[in-house]
């Protein structure tokens, strides 16, 4: 229709006219975040702050007639900081030169180092003064930016009287910081000051709630319930109260409905029934939803519906392996009691190493390079490419002194000292790994990162390694995921499979350990290591839990040791000390709490395991 056509044309025309003409001098936050962060920390900024993009906010400054005509959005991006992060604009294209836009980012980061709490008008000037006094080299840059900023500000003559006075004071505060101490009020708000921080930064959403108090109250309420014995930390999810526009109950009489309706948060009675059985059956805990009321809503109970396995994303390999199980009460190894099903994730797309791990992986690779086999001279050999001069001299001396001289061992050879090691990483992929172990990482995330980092490290040392995951659904379906077999190379396909691991089902550890042992036994290396990554005890839906599960696992580990394999365990269960020494021995396991801890301890852990 012609009206739409004309309207669209007009809109395009007017927004183009309004849009900033400096588009090709734009500097983006993503390109500048790293150097800006480095400068911030180098000048003394808190290393705990992250760099984030600030949200655009409404600034009711005076707009030009063109902007008003086009009714373009009245949003600008300024910078500010809080205790968590330094917020910078997503892009800056104020100036026609890209170098100036870049300098403005650096200036804002430098100013953030010196900024303190205080009235906006005074504090920004004082911060500027402090910064220029500490780092006089910034003076030239400040003058450049000041000149450019002042040229963008509205003409004083064009403003109304009170606004003109205000603008003059602002310009003076910018040109000579610390020279004015109060900003006169005016009818219209002032034009935004890009050299300073936001006058009224938006609070981060977390700041509105007080997390510790709520969690404590919640956990206190939970502890009184005797059934709920699991003391693992739970991720508490914060949610805004849903604004319900159609409440059931009316707290006012229907006659008075002519007045405007105030929204009343309807207080529905919560269901307090404790379903003890359901809780016990589902001792894997999921997210607990906490509203701002502080009252806990029903904990989500997950129970098994005996669903068939997901055929779509896993391909089974072969018909399955029958494995025995140890019944500790009968003191008997029951043959062919479990069926283990090897599987591989077919639709895992090849992927690269996650971006947040590249720096850690680089560091770890460098550390592990010191472990690689070094070609060294082996002296006093009977045969070799070079004469061992020391041995020869010694020999000659002994001959001349008349003492008995052994004929031989006068050569040296350069040979690689063979590292003969195979390592199988067995990752627990059961449903319990969906629980949160720290504020932002689930156990399965810790396991995934461990797999990535170990693979990066072991691919450097040229040790043979295999990656497998396991979970179980009773004794007839123990799922054994092949993430990387020993023969496969560590490539993007393997990385894709690591990234695709997801939690599900239960933990029948004994069978998985037995099968891993048989896989490792086929490796011809001198040293064979089984590394188990888990979050807790063995348990499955039938009687496989508690003492039964632990005894079967212990028997399996014993069988594996007899094959000459050394088992080791990395766990996130803080109660591991109660049962892991029984399974792995005092030096045979470590407890970690978050992924960063693993990456720091990886090298020492590996040396501990292999030496």
């Amino acid at each position: 229709m012609p009206e739409f056509f004309v309207g669209r044309l007009w809109d395009r025309l007017i927004t183009k006219a309004v849009a900033n003409r400096n588009d090709d001098a734009t500097v983006l936050f993503e390109d500048i975040a790293k150097p800006v962060g480095i400068l911030f920390r180098a000048l003394g900024g808190d290393a705990g702050l992250t760099m984030k993009i600030s949200q655009s906010t409404h600034h009711p400054g005076k707009r030009g007639w063109l902007q008003r005509f086009s009714s373009s959005e009245e949003k600008i991006e300024l910078a500010w900081r809080d205790h968590e992060a330094l917020y910078l604009p997503s892009s800056i294209n104020l100036f026609p030169e890209a170098s100036l836009n870049r300098e403005l980012y650096f200036w804002l980061a430098a100013l953030a180092v010196e900024s303190r709490d205080g009235p906006w008008f005074i504090e920004n000037q004082q911060a500027t003064l402090r910064l220029l006094a500490k780092f006089p080299g910034l003076q030239a840059r400040y003058q450049r930016l000041l000149h450019a900023i002042l040229s963008l500000r509205p003409e004083i003559e064009s403003l109304a009287d009170d606004n003109a006075v205000q603008e003059r004071v602002l310009c003076q505060a910018l040109a000579a910081p610390g020279s004015v101490s109060s900003l006169p009020l005016a009818h219209y708000p002032w034009h935004p000051v890009h050299l300073w921080f936001h006058p009224t930064p938006p609070l981060s959403s977390n700041a509105q709630l007080d997390p510790p108090k709520r969690l404590d109250a919640f956990e206190q309420a939970e502890s009184t319930q005797s059934v709920f014995q699991d003391e693992r930390r739970h991720k508490a999810e914060r949610r805004e109260i849903q604004e319900r526009k159609d409440g059931f109950m009316m707290f006012f009489r229907a006659e008075s409905i002519l007045s405007w309706a105030e929204y009343i948060k309807v207080n529905r009675p919560t269901d307090d029934d404790e379903n003890a059985d359901a809780k016990r059956a589902a001792d894997e805990m999921d997210t607990i939803t906490v509203t701002r009321d502080g009252k806990s809503t029903a904990s989500r109970i997950r129970f098994d519906l005996d669903l068939p396995p997901e055929e779509s994303d896993n391909t089974t390999l072969g018909v399955g392996v029958l494995l025995p199980e140890w019944h500790y009460k009968k003191n008997q190894l029951i043959k062919d009691y479990c069926r283990l099903q090897p599987m591989v994730a077919t639709d895992a797309a090849p992927s690269a190493l996650p971006a947040h791990l590249t720096i850690t992986a680089q560091r770890i690779r460098r550390q592990f390079e010191t472990l690689t086999s070094v070609r060294a001279w082996q002296k006093k050999q009977d045969e070799g490419s070079e004469i061992d001069v020391d041995a020869y001299v010694q020999h000659k001396v002994e001959r001349q002194c008349g003492t008995f001289a052994v004929d031989g061992g006068l050569f040296k050879t350069l040979s690689a000292q063979e590292r003969n090691l195979s390592c199988l990483l067995l990752a627990d992929l059961s449903q319990s790994t969906d629980a949160y172990v720290s504020s932002d990482a689930r156990v399965v995330d810790v396991i995934r990162e461990s797999l990535f980092l170990f693979s990066e490290a072991l691919s450097v040392t040229a040790d043979r390694f295999g990656l497998y995951g396991f979970s179980s659904l009773r004794r007839d379906q123990i799922r054994f995921h092949a993430i990387k077999s020993f023969e496969e190379k560590y490539n993007d396909q393997v990385r894709g499979r690591i990234a695709a691991i997801k939690p599900g089902y239960y933990t029948r550890m004994g069978a998985a350990i037995r099968h891993s042992g048989s896989l490792l036994a086929k490796q011809a290396s001198h040293q064979r290591i089984l590394l188990l990554l888990t979050d807790g005890k063995p348990n499955d839906l039938d009687q496989y839990e508690g003492r039964y599960g632990i005894e079967d696992t212990r028997k399996a580990l014993g069988e594996v040791c007899k094959l000459g394999i050394r088992p080791f365990c990395v766990t996130v269960d803080e109660k591991a000390g109660s049962y892991l020494p029984y399974l792995f021995g005092i030096g045979g396991f470590i407890v970690i709490r978050n992924p960063s801890e693993l990456s720091q301890r990886l090298l020492s852990l590996y040396v501990q395991i292999t030496h």
């Binding site: 790293k34 150097p35 800006v36 962060g37 480095i38 400068l39 920390r41 180098a42 000048l43 003394g44 290393a47 650096f106 430098a110 780092f135 006089p136 080299g137 910034l138 003076q139 030239a140 840059r141 560091r363 550390q367 010191t370 472990l371 001279w377 020391d390 001299v393 010694q394 000659k396 001396v397 001349q400 090298l603 020492s604 040396v607």
Partner: protein, 276 residues
């Protein structure tokens, strides 16, 4: 009146320093060294590269007027390199003392720099010298040397992550009195820079401020920390007439990282201190 007896070896020994090199103490390390020397205790110095360990040892050796035998340890260093070996010349074989043996014979100071670089079976040769026996057995010649009271053994190393596997065995480590070196405080570092290069105090202050800013980036952005030695290099270049920004780039920034983004960020820090 007794005539002071000077042994011939001391009079003409080239290993005794003729003048005391400059060293600015950070804390009580000078007293610790002197006490260890008088009580015949061996000393272990650990610290990052370029913080003054070797300078400290040469300073103390000159102060105490003892000959100093320095050994730069490396992976191929054998016990014979330290103790000595038989050599052959046209008249036959003769025994040649290694630096450790010479230090023991003459009552000097033997300094093993970067001792963790040597293989552990090499460092075990130090054990008899570091306990109360203070003897050095020479199997090849059949001697057992008793170290005089002026003999002192000093070792040093850099406890960075690269040396994780190359750390000292506890049985070796626990034979030494240990001293940890760090970088000096800004005021001291300024004095060191001024004394080493003759640069003016204002420029020295700026350099030290810059290097403190760079050091605060450790672990987060940079793997290594700028050492005092690099600051002295930068100052020498500036004193010689090179532009300060370029001198800092060459001596400090390019030595610490190869990543282009990090280099441009560090240049911003240099501009913040020196201007453009």
């Amino acid at each position: 009146m007794s005539i002071p007896v000077i042994s011939i070896s001391e009079a003409v020994n080239p290993y005794v320093a003729s003048e005391v090199p400059f060293y600015k103490p950070h804390g009580n390390e000078v007293e610790l060294f002197e006490h260890a020397f008088s009580k015949q205790l061996p000393l272990l110095i650990k610290g990052p590269t370029g913080c003054g360990k070797t300078r400290f040892v040469t300073h103390m050796a000159a102060r105490l007027k003892r000959p100093l035998y320095t050994v730069a340890c490396h992976d191929d260093l054998t016990a014979t390199d330290l103790v000595g070996r038989h050599l052959i010349n046209d008249s036959g074989t003769y025994w040649n003392d290694g630096p450790l043996t010479r230090a023991v014979r003459e009552g000097g100071i033997c300094y093993l720099d970067e001792v963790v670089e040597a293989r552990k079976d090499t460092t075990v040769v130090l054990h008899p010298l570091t306990d109360d026996r203070r003897i050095l057995p020479l199997e090849r010649t059949g001697e057992i040397l008793q170290a005089p009271s002026q003999f002192m053994l000093v070792v040093s190393y850099n406890p960075g992550y690269q040396n994780f596997l190359k750390g000292m065995k506890p049985s070796t480590r626990q034979r030494f009195v240990s001293l940890r070196f760090g970088f000096p405080k800004p005021e001291l570092e300024q004095e060191v820079v001024i004394k080493e290069t003759g640069i003016d105090p204002g420029m020295a202050a700026l350099l030290v401020k810059l290097v403190s800013a760079l050091r605060s980036l450790k672990a987060h952005d940079l793997e290594e920390v700028a050492s005092t030695r690099l600051v002295v290099y930068a100052a020498s270049l500036i004193k010689n007439g090179f532009a300060p920004v370029d001198a800092c780039r060459a001596a400090l920034v390019e030595a610490l990282t190869d990543d282009e983004e990090t280099i441009s960020a560090l240049m911003e820090v240099i501009y913040a201190c020196f201007g453009e």
